[in-house]
């Protein structure tokens, strides 16, 4: 890649007190790419996402957005820049309607017409949300809540979507359906950083991937290379 990456992490370190969650992570995402960040529980994937969206401070290293350093930014400013973080565990506002959740996603935006267009786009992408737009989000099924969480993140009109384990707790059929939606989003031009434990599902839609283990980068490559990698197959795909 010769062009400037959209997002670049340089020697990123994140820690909770004395415990390092992520160390010396180098990662880059070009515009239009879908990049998977893989690893087991506690590998530092979520911490990396939280550092990018400034929910956590970076203890060392740099986060560069189109060559601009994000270290002094607050979370709301990163949303304004176009980084939308869809947090782990869905975190929809259970006591509010689907529509209210989606409207909250567009909280920083004031152009009502553009918001309406994006709302229609979300409803088209996830027709079940359109059917249930006046239901309380807490009454949706797990899969629908995940769709709502993704749609809500899309309502911020992001340039980069950070997805934290969207497949968590979903039935395999639903995972497929969700991944197809994500693939479609990526095809429509949205850049994505996809954190997953479900390596199969993630590598099916990502072009490249990074593998973290105990906070350190152990492997990176194209999706094809990673799928063939014997270490990864042994660790995550159950090969002998």
């Amino acid at each position: 890649m010769t062009a400037t990456p959209l997002l670049e992490l340089k020697q990123l370190g994140v820690r909770y007190g004395n415990i390092w969650a992520v160390r010396q992570l180098n990662l880059s995402i070009a515009s239009g790419e879908c990049v998977a960040l893989l690893g087991s529980n506690g590998a530092g994937k979520s911490s990396t996402l939280r550092a990018i969206s400034r929910l956590l401070p970076a203890a060392e290293g740099q986060i560069l957005w189109a060559n601009k350093c994000l270290s002094s930014f607050r979370t709301e400013s990163t949303v304004r820049l176009g980084i939308s973080h869809c947090p782990e565990g869905r975190r929809v506002l259970a006591k509010q309607t689907v529509l209210a959740n989606l409207e909250l996603g567009a909280w920083l935006r004031r152009n009502k017409k553009a918001i309406k267009i994006d709302l229609d786009y979300c409803y088209q992408l996830f027709p079940r949300l359109a059917e249930r737009r006046l239901q309380l989000a807490g009454s949706l099924s797990g899969g629908e809540q995940q769709m709502l969480a993704i749609a809500r993140a899309l309502m911020a009109k992001p340039n980069l979507l950070l997805l934290d384990e969207p497949s968590l707790g979903l039935a395999p059929l639903l995972v497929d359906e969700l991944m197809q939606c994500l693939a479609k989003l990526n095809k429509d031009g949205l850049t994505m950083l996809l954190v997953e434990q479900n390596v199969y599902a993630a590598l099916a839609i990502a072009q490249r991937g990074y593998v973290l283990e105990a906070g350190e980068l152990v492997l990176e490559g194209t999706a094809q290379e990673l799928r063939k990698n014997s270490n990864l197959r042994r660790s995550y795909l159950g090969d002998e």
Binding site: T75, L104, W107
Partner: protein, 283 residues
Amino acid sequence: MIDISLFVLMLLGALLALAVYLPLRAGQLSLATPGFYTIGGTVAALLSTQLPGLGGSDAVYPLTSLLLEMIVAIAVAGLLAFLIGKPVLKLRGIYLAIATIALVEILRVVLLSSPWFGAAVGIFAIPQPFEGPEGYLIAYGLLLAIVAWACARLERQPLGMAMAAIRDDELAARCMGVSTDQVKLIAFVLSAIVAAAAGVLAAHYFNSWNARQANFDASITTLAFVVLGGSRTWLGPVIGGLVLTALPELLRPIGDLRLIVFGLVILLGPIFIPQGLIKSKQS
């Protein structure tokens, strides 16, 4: 026959309940309302008794002076809430509640021990802008109408939506770009303003004012208004404030038992109607 002054107190209760409701809508359990209420009353009492120029020439205290007091009280309470809110709102949940109780207690002790504010005796002979309780009823009615209308509007504005989002899930709200610190601070300052405005009228209505208005009991009573009435929409606190202010008075015929009944209502309310009397409109 129920005295008209009870209605005045009911409206005051509803106003204080709205002051508790505002930060609670943003998920912040602040018990500082009686503190800012006392600040409002103290400002009004001091200005109207210490500045002869405000009294005018008539026997009746001019309404313009009352309005002026209100502006000063709102400015003082708002500024104080802004300065205190910045550090205090970093605390979460029950810790914020404890800190705000401490705030009310500190204020009470400061007022009690300083002769400028009337010390333990209080400030007396606060001039009357109205001839009878009817005037106060109208004034409180007007103030409540304005505040309730503003709260109802707020709920449909982005700010009100952000407040509800913080209450439901602060991390999700931050991910959506809500400046949670800022929104919480705004809610806290608005709450202080409402309480202070209610305090200005109260000082005149009660004719005298002392530091004992700010106490822990008042914090809990005003919180009970919101707990019983419901904290999802503005109507809940209003109903809670009206009902719970009236209840002890209406129960007066049964003598000392009334406090037991009052206590039972507060105790059983959250068990049987956890969302409060007024639920949000969505199914």
